[in-house]
């Protein structure tokens, strides 16, 4: 047995899952959201098939409301790495004038969920990789690595396949498909550490910088272009902010922060996780940390 670190084991597991799908399915696709998890997923796929190119395309569901820096990053990655990129937009929705400002929660349904289903059907993809992790929320804790979908892309929670060892069952009937989550066992910290140690490029929006923002409904929203209708009294002002997660700019809340590098982002994340515990700063010293735990006792 090689002595492997926990990140090494997670990496090997991710590569295994990606190769298994490429080998078993006729027409897989990797969903590319341009975020940090997608960046790690893409990197693992490159490792899996080195020295060859990716044996499947990447697909981005473009709502047309993504941050401009995300689109620039996406196109730069496609150019530099040389993967095949499919960009799909719900043109009907676009023509009907569906925007985050006019359609509320229906917007996400129409421009993201419906668009994804239509794109998967249009290209007849039988497997789609996603970057979701089990630690993201309680309900994801039980999600499979291979998540079975029927011909209508429906997930039947009563009919999920047991998943043992690494013997993933890739058998499906015509029209059925699976969603695959190679990062299932990664935590948010693992993702950032991996980006740090492997020097994986990520969208600059994760790092603090003065950006034009408005306060709206308790969130700091970045005014990324002039399509954003400003309400009465709203006036964009420059603030040093960054983003924890990326999506459509009118729906992504910014964070006031000075963390402008990878290490400072990680440090901020660690401190945030624990600072509310009687403003206890993260204790990087092992012995002191253990001592503190012993002193804390229970409650």
């Amino acid at each position: 047995m090689a002595r492997m670190t926990q990140l090494g084991r997670l990496e090997a597991e991710g590569i295994f899952i990606i190769r298994e799908v490429a080998a078993e399915f006729d027409n897989p696709v990797m969903l590319y959201s341009i975020g940090k998890d997608s960046s790690v997923l893409l990197y693992l796929a490159r490792k899996a098939f080195h020295p060859g190119p990716l044996p499947f395309p990447l697909m981005h569901i473009d709502t047309t409301w993504k941050f401009r820096e995300m689109i620039e990053f996406r196109d730069r990655m496609a150019r530099e790495i040389g993967f095949k990129l499919i960009v799909h937009t719900n043109e009907e929705g676009l023509a009907a004038g569906v925007t985050p400002f006019t359609h509320g929660s229906r917007y996400t349904d129409i421009m993201k969920t419906e668009a994804l289903k239509a794109a998967l059907s249009k290209h007849r993809f039988d497997a789609a990789f996603g970057g979701a992790r089990r630690d993201e929320e309680k309900s994801r804790a039980k999600e499979r690595v291979f998540s079975f979908r029927d011909a209508q892309h429906r997930w039947d929670p009563k009919n999920q396949r047991p998943e043992l060892w690494n013997l993933y069952n890739g058998r499906i009937n015509q029209g059925e498909s699976i969603r695959v989550f190679p990062l299932s066992n990664w935590t948010e910290l693992d993702v950032w550490l991996y980006i740090h140690f492997e020097k994986i490029p990520v969208v600059p929006l994760y790092f603090a910088k003065p950006r034009p923002v408005v306060d709206r409904d308790g969130m700091l929203i970045m005014v990324d272009d002039d399509r954003m209708p400003l309400r009465d009294g709203e006036k964009p002002r420059m603030e040093t902010v960054r983003f924890r997660s990326l999506g459509c700019y009118p729906l992504s809340g910014a964070l006031r922060s000075n963390a402008d590098s990878l290490t400072s982002v990680i440090e901020e994340m660690l401190v945030t996780r624990t600072s509310e515990r009687q403003s206890r700063a993260i204790d990087f010293d092992q012995a002191a940390s253990m001592e503190k735990r012993k002193r804390e006792g229970y409650f």
């Binding site: 190769r19 098939f49 396949r161 290490t263």
Partner: protein, 633 residues
Amino acid sequence: MAAVRLENFLRRHEAKALLRFITCGSVDDGKSTLIGRLLHDTQQILEDHLAAVTSDSRKWGTTGDEPDLALLVDGLQAEREQGITIDVAYRYFDTEARKYIIADCPGHEQYTRNMATGASTADLAVILVDAARGVLVQTRRHAYIVSLLGIRQVVVAVNKMDMVGFDERVFTAIRSECLELMARLGVTGVSLVPVSALKGHNVVTRGEGMPWYTGPTLIELLDSIDVNRDQHLADLRLPVQYVNRPNATFRGYAGTIAAGGLAVGDPVMAVPSRRVSRIRSIVTFDGNLQQAAAPMAVTVTLDDEIDISRGDLLVHPDRAPSVGRIIDAHLIWMSDSPLLPGKQYEFKISHRYLRGTVERIHHRVDVNDLSEHPTTELKLNEVGLCRIVFAEQAAFDTYASCRTTGALIVVDRLSHATAGAGMILASVAPHGVHHDISVFWQPTRVSHQQRANQKAQHPCILWFTGLSGAGKSTIANAVEQALFLRGHHSYLLDGDNIRHGLNKDLDFSDAGRVENIRRIGELAKLFVDAGLIVVTAFISPFRGDRRMVRDLVGPDEFVEVFVSTPIEVCEKRDAKGLYARAREGTIRNFTGVSSPYEAPEAPEIEIDSSKLTVTECVDRVIRYLESQDRLKN
């Protein structure tokens, strides 16, 4: 300075070992509380989250003003009520020493299936025992499934010590019972720790309730137990997962090393094809390697262009796994439609899907008391030892020696659902029964005796043996005719005919001859069981083989008929021209010429066809059967 400290912290976190464990126990044992306690006391819970739990606890909890830590991990109840299948929930936490993945399996109904799923990827199991209730049926069930899934390290957390007044004697009694149970199951790595998850004693912090206990706390055990996958196999197993051919010049075999290691220049063999080559390079994204070992994901290139495809195993030529079509495996059934012997399924082993059937179920194991029962099907959540026959050759190890190459899943061919999971116990040679396990004979309703009575005869094997040309077939045929005319039920097994069909895969080597006789013996035995008088006519030159057949049936059911015609007479007859060809040397291993004939020492009947006519020979045989009261009228 801060940056350096952070970098050191990150390095330490990155370098932690990963340990996956399963928790076995029900809500009643305080399992949720224990997991909540682990998460809370290792600082995994955000303050706002804890505040929410504290407020929930006043409403729903059972702990008064203190936060009910079970609520940190529960929330599954609601989902269960909605009918959502919850088999395994995975949770993550870490200490200074290790990163942990907990496989938490709630639910009673689907317990065997869920536990097996969680245990399949676990290095270690934490089994909860309620101190007030002691070792229960469910404890035995948990321990059995853990051992079945090959987990070799078990920590028994004797919980709710606060409910028994922290009494050391309670712990000691449970301790000896658990150690005995685990020893019986072959689990040797057993640790026990008395805890109170509710009060937080001996989980992460020591607490004050049990000064008599000076051993490690639960988390200290988890941090220190050396699992290292408990992989026994040191030999290379690289299942070929993906053949990487980006262009005409590169042909790489990608896969995750399941056991052992390899280095550039090592000889390797692909199984089942048994083609041999050498490792030319070990390719990774981070640069080529000189050597690699389990559990790394690599791509290798070979010196020779040999035909290797997904599903093959790369191994060391002298350290090959079993290759064959027949295995015995423990199956855990996970589908609503029961496992039926004879039905076609697909079996996935490593990266191959093989068609096959379960030929028979040797027995079902009662997971509660480990007793074994004959059965004709396996239902949902049942465990059985099964004989599986694949349509093609496969390469595999026993599950005990290598989890990756010794495990399989069963896939339903219509729905494609995962219907079962299996752990290979042994390879079964096509020529023989392996002796690792006891094989249950399927009980049948009509008895041997009833069939025999119906036919008014005492069934037996009339085993004719003698040289080629001695007259065996002629006499045997005539005996059968005589029996038929008298109204008896018989069947003649003739050497040439059997070799045209049932045994056409066998050659005339010693091993082929032994197997030829063994199969005929088995067939004859079934016919005897059916109530028939079986007449066979084979040279069967070896005493040992004839004894083997004699031993297959009852003591008075084997009648050896030695046709002792001298070789000179046989050779003179030479109806098929075989002796001539044997003397020329064009037939090798010819009995009496270039291969020995071992004459019977005490045959029931001896006849020499050079001295007797065929009719006289037949009379001798029939008179013998009558004298033994074999033929009733």
